[in-house]
């Protein structure tokens, strides 16, 4: 190197070249970092693998003692009784019931809201509402559980006297409120991705704002909007605290939303709170239930992922 350290030394361009040893070191660091970063990313695959392994392992142990047929077809779930029964349908029905009620509320509300935000609301309004929805999404689920049990249920009981203290209706509605921000966020994103040229074409033909939204924008954003619903469904299925607090622990085939019923998630909580010995049959049930839950949500998530990819390709 020929750069002088004196302040008044004339600058000689082209004379400062990095030392070979520095470049070598730099290359080694770069390589090491790349490996470390890759490992961090690959961790996500490992986590999925670990989840599947843990769930499968204990589920297999479970099925060594309980037949799959009875697991899928029994209509009672009584793992701690003398003559235990393990019909997963009961828990699944509880989960599906609350999910269904939640979607019943969130899909129409979410669709209306995302159309409103994407096609009708002025930018200022949109920028105000979206943060509020984000705040709604950030409320801890246990708080929603409290809200469902102590605030909403008594209010609902005033109008529906037959409503039990633990029921599926109120948690269902609260779950709907909880998944609303997710549905709106994904659906609105999809609608905004529809190019303005399509909108202008519609308006030029004499479409109203509403007609443009419903006949042009939504069909154009269809797969994204569907993905929003599916993601909401996945979230609703996995919801735990609201149902654990407000839906009761009774495992039964849930037809009546006015009564309580256990969901898959609430059941897992119930067992975890207790003192079951590790590797007892009842302990293993939470893994079997968990695997069922995981498969359900994974199916939904993959479907939604594929749909979102599809709509991104169109434009």
């Amino acid at each position: 190197m020929t750069v002088s350290s004196r302040d008044d030394a004339p600058l000689r361009y082209g004379s400062y070249v990095a030392a070979k040893s520095f470049l070598r070191r730099r290359a080694i660091i770069a390589h090491v970092m790349r490996v470390l970063l890759f490992l961090a990313a690959a961790l996500s695959v490992f986590i999925t693998g670990a989840i599947v392994y843990i769930l499968l392992y204990d589920t297999v142990l479970f099925f060594q003692q309980v037949s799959i047929i009875s697991f899928l077809t029994d209509t009672e779930w009584t793992p701690v009784f003398e003559n235990p029964k393990f019909g997963i349908i009961t828990l699944v029905s509880g989960t599906l019931m609350t999910t269904f009620i939640g979607l019943l509320f969130a899909v129409p509300a979410g669709t209306v809201l995302s159309i409103y935000l994407s096609e009708f609301a002025r930018p200022v309004m949109r920028e105000t509402i979206k943060p509020i929805l984000e705040l709604l999404a950030g409320v801890p689920t246990v708080a929603f559980g409290y809200f469902a049990l102590f605030f909403l249920t008594p209010i609902f009981q005033m109008f529906i006297p037959e409503l039990r203290g633990f029921n599926l209706l109120v948690p269902g509605i609260v779950i709907g409120i909880m998944i609303l921000p997710y549905i709106v966020s994904v659906a609105e994103d999809a609608m905004r991705a529809v190019p303005d040229s399509l909108r202008e074409g519609a308006y030029a033909l004499g479409f109203t704002r509403f007609q443009t939204a419903v006949k042009v924008v939504i069909p154009g954003a269809f797969s994204g909007v569907t993905a929003a619903y599916i993601l909401g469904m996945s979230r609703a299925v996995g919801e735990t605290m609201v149902v654990a607090i407000a839906a009761g622990q009774q495992a039964r085939i849930a037809f009546n939303p006015l009564e309580g019923a256990a969901t898959i998630t609430a059941y897992i909580v119930q067992i975890s709170l207790g003192d079951l010995p590790h590797n007892s049959l009842a302990y293993l049930t939470i893994f079997a239930a968990g695997l069922t839950l995981f498969l359900m949500t994974m199916a939904f998530n993959l479907l939604a992922f594929w749909l979102r990819r599809k709509y991104r390709e169109v434009y």
Partner: protein, 310 residues
Amino acid sequence: MSDARTDDVKFDEQALVRKANRQDLRFAIVGFVVLVLAMATLMALVIDFMIDGIPRISWEFLTSYPSRRPQQAGILSAWVGSTLVMLTTAALAVPVGVAAGIYLEEYAPKNWMTDVIEINVTNLAGVPSIIYGLLALGLFVYGLRLGQTVLVAGLTLALLILPIIIVATREALRSIPLEIREAAYGLGADKWQAIWMYLLPAARPGILTGAIVGMSRAIGETAPIITIGALSFIAFLPPAPVSASFPFVSFDWLNSPFTVMPIQMFNWISRPQAGFHVAAAATGVILLAMTLLMNGLAIYIRYRIRRGAK
């Protein structure tokens, strides 16, 4: 003009315009009503907690342990536990999440392996939190024999919020203007130098937002912590991180049993006495304040980023 006569296709323009405006107005009203309902629900929730819970908050409440008697119950062990668990979670999730995000955004080639990783990250973001609890139960508590400790809770929650941090990092890197990248490489930096010295600092606000959102999620998570077996009648604190004698810093607290605020709240909700419900509401107020503040902070930072970018 053509064979389809104008008379066949005649329409009343004025009437159509009037009807159209009515239709648009009606929908705008419906949309607005739905909006108001959604916000009213959020308000109702917050106000309900405040009414039920605020009177109960006091210095004694914050410095007492849980008790069999509702009037004497406090959340000391709960909020200390929450703090320690949050520290652990952050220390684990942020470095790993940022690293993974950097790899996926800057290094990963477009091949099937990268696809698999990306699908996994997306899938993990949608896995119910209780499944993470089961994973931790099988892997950490029993598999690795780590027991029901702060460390395990931190690990579990770190895994849970990892996707959030990864996605936030990727978005932050993606939105760095091209000029900064070109300037860095133009100076002769290699990839890692460019990232470490120029891109990461530029992406810092975005990553910070993601970290805050992740922590806000973690602080309110109950289900996975229940599953790994956090007890809720903890009448002691984990060992202090600082000690009077050498080496002055201790990590024993990582191995300690613990409780966190949402667990305490859940436990009190499940008790029959109304006094405990009030205590639960008080805990809820504190939790809500924290999550609303953290989310609000994240939103504010994001707003500042967007304004700065203009």
